[in-house]
Symmetry: D2
Subunit: 349 residues, 4 copies
């Protein structure tokens, strides 16, 4: 780290900083500039004390980090792309995955009908919320265990893998009993106890970026999971909160490109949450592919106008079919294909 | 709710909206305007279906809410100020509370020394984190149960009430065994399972506003707690995340004034997290009092430069004494006094 | 507009709102709901009084707009895509345009060398700042009139059209004497006097989105130009300011898709400003094409490390050649080609 | 500045950075750390080249600034508080100023009535917009020159000083002919040509913070004015744009405290724009005083519900009287009094 001292810091004050830096285990290297002195503190910023507390000293103006804060998720620790095995399916590492399904599991008919529809168009993973984090306590909170049963039935019938959100540490085992991928939602992106508990389940985890998480913090969230022994993490960009009101969130596609550069983990894009508007989903899917995403997580519902949650952002089957056709040339441009390992004779690319 | 139709919607399309609105349990009232038609849907927006899903219909441009989404936390349901009993102490309702202590509990000496110092200056509640939510898995995560023991000891010795954060549903009972007030941090502001579990403990809860939570969402978070049977909630403004980089967060003092208007719950301000800089804490404490806060939650540390977390925003004892003196005239201007119910002969205002 | 009254508004208070609405030229239509009354005010919201001032009345909770605030820029007024003639070149309406060149015009050699390089790769418009809006008064402010002369020379030699920023109403005539397209930068996006003056020049105008402009405001900025008699406007998305610090701005590609839906004007994307990092420019160019952009505005410099402004976000010639190759398949996927009207035998798609 | 090299940079690559730094006029000082090398570049960052362009080199990870970018506005260049003379009145430096009046000048009666009302309550400066920057071209744009005449008349009659916004370089002389203080609005906060032109008028200038300006950028805007020979600048905090929708802007009172620390210039707070709601203005005025503001700029209108602009945020005379009474104890707490230099026998504190 670099400790920037205020102009006119006295020799004694500089000496105090050098002493503190040394005591905290770093090797100090002071440099006198034109207006002020800096002290470079040589050491391992990740494991040693955070020197930012030194700004509590009156002569310290600021403390600048030099090293990256994450390690296991970084390209430096693993230069190639990670491919994650999901019960026989492989996601990432060149395979492009379509994950699709309703926002909430609402009924047997709704889920199975959707599962068949998305499978017919190439999806290999079925999404659907059994436990729903809702802003108001008076809104539909999901079917809970009954929703999980329906998801299990849909997997049984269609062979699709299941991704579903887990909201509570206490539900991890139960959800992991059905899900092939555990989803951690944006509101829990820094619920570290849930991350750790999910990591311990051994299941692959899709970690959504928090609503106002910096990219670094998102990667550090994934680092929590890897550091607790689970290497199978999908990063999921789902839009960040900004001042714009015509979209629910601002989908940050540059973050996808950065995550691909900084990390070896697969990056999935959720355009449905990302904009909150069904009419933009196709364009954003194409955009996501173009910037390098490894897959898409799309909300699909048989009749969005009657959905029990987020109908405004779910696409119906017709629109999903248009979406499927629309993305094909962009996948080709990106030299990717939809889950080739799974494509049977009715393969739909 | 109001359903705004697109210009040139056909009579048949309008009829479809009217039909859907009726089926979803509302009474429709269409109005033809100059450029387009709207359909007012009369009903209880809180308990009936959310009509926003109707924007999935091509003829619907937008859906506007009319009613407020919260009820129990609103002034309408409880016009007076709520005063919350905390083991003999009363917070809110005219009593102004100083809650102070270190960011993290680090050691017996550090905690007890701080407890004595803040008590001598009028604090009635001791803060101190035993479980710490840290951005990186490599940072100090708190002393855990040992930290709780030290907090219990500090209460025993000083008589100060204890506020400390709970990060995990599984720790609620354990933390509630020591704490007089459970703190829910900004990262868990929409971890609804934790809110519900904390509500069930029966302990008063201080609910921090999420990093990018709208005021309405913050109030709805509190509504979760009240709706699960616990009426004792403190709202805590601690800054929101914006583009500004010279402060860690942007303290939103207008939100304090709004929360006081909209809700009957006490509102506490955390200036330490709110700006992330010890040198601004005094000014923001004065500002918080002036806009109507019912109390302050302040980070105090014997030696901030050596703190194990967030040293840059903790004030030392000297600065806390200056703070105590600085806020006195503003408390008088606001016609408030520090915890009169507790002030003994050595009362320090 | 819709005036939402507070719960428990009296009959007299409702009557007062009805009266005010009538006096302000609207036809009132009150509707009594379950918890509160609303008054729909029928009229032309664009030309009549803004009823938002009615929230000054104690019984009014909020005022909701129904109609769109812009007209000339809307798809409703002009359903097809607008193609803008630029001195013989046609931009928009199916033609994809590459606009490229240095951030600042620095020297004759720098500009001409860049002009030749970008032309050879298919650019039809040369960008380059002669007047630079710089955050600090001590930073390089551009070559001014000498920069304009160099731009004129580059056009003369290469046949490229010129786009350059105008900062001052007083410079509009002078800049319009050289530029084929006037650029209004993000900092001046709501400098309405400059917009009006630029509109009057008759030259096509590229209007960048302001740093924190909502999409609606950006479209209303363009509406100013059209309302002042100039129909030739390019909308340019260049990133918005958010809390993220690893990119200079957050490129909002959903805004491109929305602008294409709402407006008939061509939409150009500036990925260089959009992220502030040369290493992300290629990915974001591909993304911009995929979401429907009509062109790209890219910063190219012979030696970015020695640039007098924004070297970190300028690509060098090698990277620009890679970019040119990388976007080709995405242009094909989008069924677009680079400026076919201009492509000679050396056409580079 | 400090150039951070990527891990594994070769000796040759480090040497290249050292060479570039030297050529750009800085003295390089490389330091080898545990994971990577940094090069401290010693020199004057304000006047020498901006080394950030070096991130264009593949081996450079980032470039960190050490020095402050502003000089004339800083406390270091002028440790005491600046008091600005405004035609006999002195603002700043211990004098607290009330600036009040309508958002827009609408009519002779409206303006004079308001001027008398605010003067009677201690205001010494009358605000009122003759030129209005409006988001839509169809909204009321102000009375222009006729508005200026009315302002001149109000000054004549009441002796109040006049502050009014200037939108156009071309209007600076005309507006300066009437105004005692030129206001630069948030939308023009980085319209540097307007800042320079206004600076040259010699009149005191109130510079509003831009909607998404960082504090550093706001100070650099003021630096432009001082660097062009005009030392009389008021900084004005008026809220920043965030995701919150219940307030028009988020008033950043920490920025007031920072501006007072970093700069010697007076800081004025505009609570009306700052929240966009008349019902919060009193609380925010008290808050502004408590954090150290030198004055307030408040929108007052005889009948806000009928205002031609921004009625929702203007207070009427009754509310202004309540405001005047409400702030008195906070001014006393802050040891400030309203414009003592001007108080006659009818002095209203």
């Amino acid at each position: 780290m670099i400790i920037v001292l205020r102009p006119h810091a006295t020799a004694e004050q500089i000496e105090q900083v050098v002493r503190e830096v040394t005591e905290l285990g770093y090797q100090p290297s002071p440099i006198t500039g034109v207006t002020q002195t800096i002290v470079a503190a040589i050491g391992d910023e990740r494991t040693q004390a955070n020197l930012e507390s030194l700004t509590a000293l009156p002569q310290v103006e600021s403390v600048l980090r030099v090293q990256k804060r994450y390690k296991l998720v970084s390209r430096e620790s693993h230069p190639g792309d990670t491919e994650i095995p999901v019960d026989g399916l492989r996601i990432g590492g060149g395979n492009f995955s379509l994950m699709a399904g309703p926002c909430s599991v609402e009924s047997r008919a709704q889920l199975l009908e959707t599962a068949r529809a998305v499978k017919a168009l190439g999806a290999t993973v079925l999404r659907g919320g059994a436990y729903k984090p809702r802003t108001s306590p008076y809104e539909f909170q999901g079917l809970g265990p009954d929703g999980l049963k329906l998801l299990a039935e849909a997997r049984e019938e269609t062979g699709l893998k299941i991704i579903t959100e887990v909201l509570s540490e206490r539900d991890v085992a139960r959800v992991a009993g059905v899900a092939d991928i555990l989803q951690i939602g944006a509101r829990n992106a820094q619920n570290f106890q849930l991350l750790i508990e999910a990591a311990r389940s051994g299941k692959p985890i899709l970690l959504k970026r928090g609503m106002s998480e910096r990219i670094e913090e998102w990667l550090l969230g994934a680092e929590y999971i890897l550091a607790h022994g689970n290497p199978n993490v999908f990063l999921c960009e789902r839009g960040i909160r900004t001042f714009e009101t015509w979209t629910r969130n601002t989908l940050d596609l540059a973050a996808v490109a950065i995550a691909k550069k900084e990390s070896h983990l697969p990056v999935i894009v959720d355009p449905s949450q990302g904009c909150g508007r069904a009419d933009l989903v196709i364009a954003l899917c194409c955009g996501a592919i173009a910037v390098g995403a490894d897959g898409l997580l799309i909300e699909v519902h048989p009749k969005p106008a009657e959905a029990m949650s987020d109908g405004h952002q779910q696409v119906d089957f017709d629109l999903f079919a248009k979406l499927r056709a629309a993305i094909t040339p962009f996948l080709e441009a990106a030299k990717k294909s939809v889950s080739p390992g799974e494509a049977g004779p009715e393969g739909c690319v």
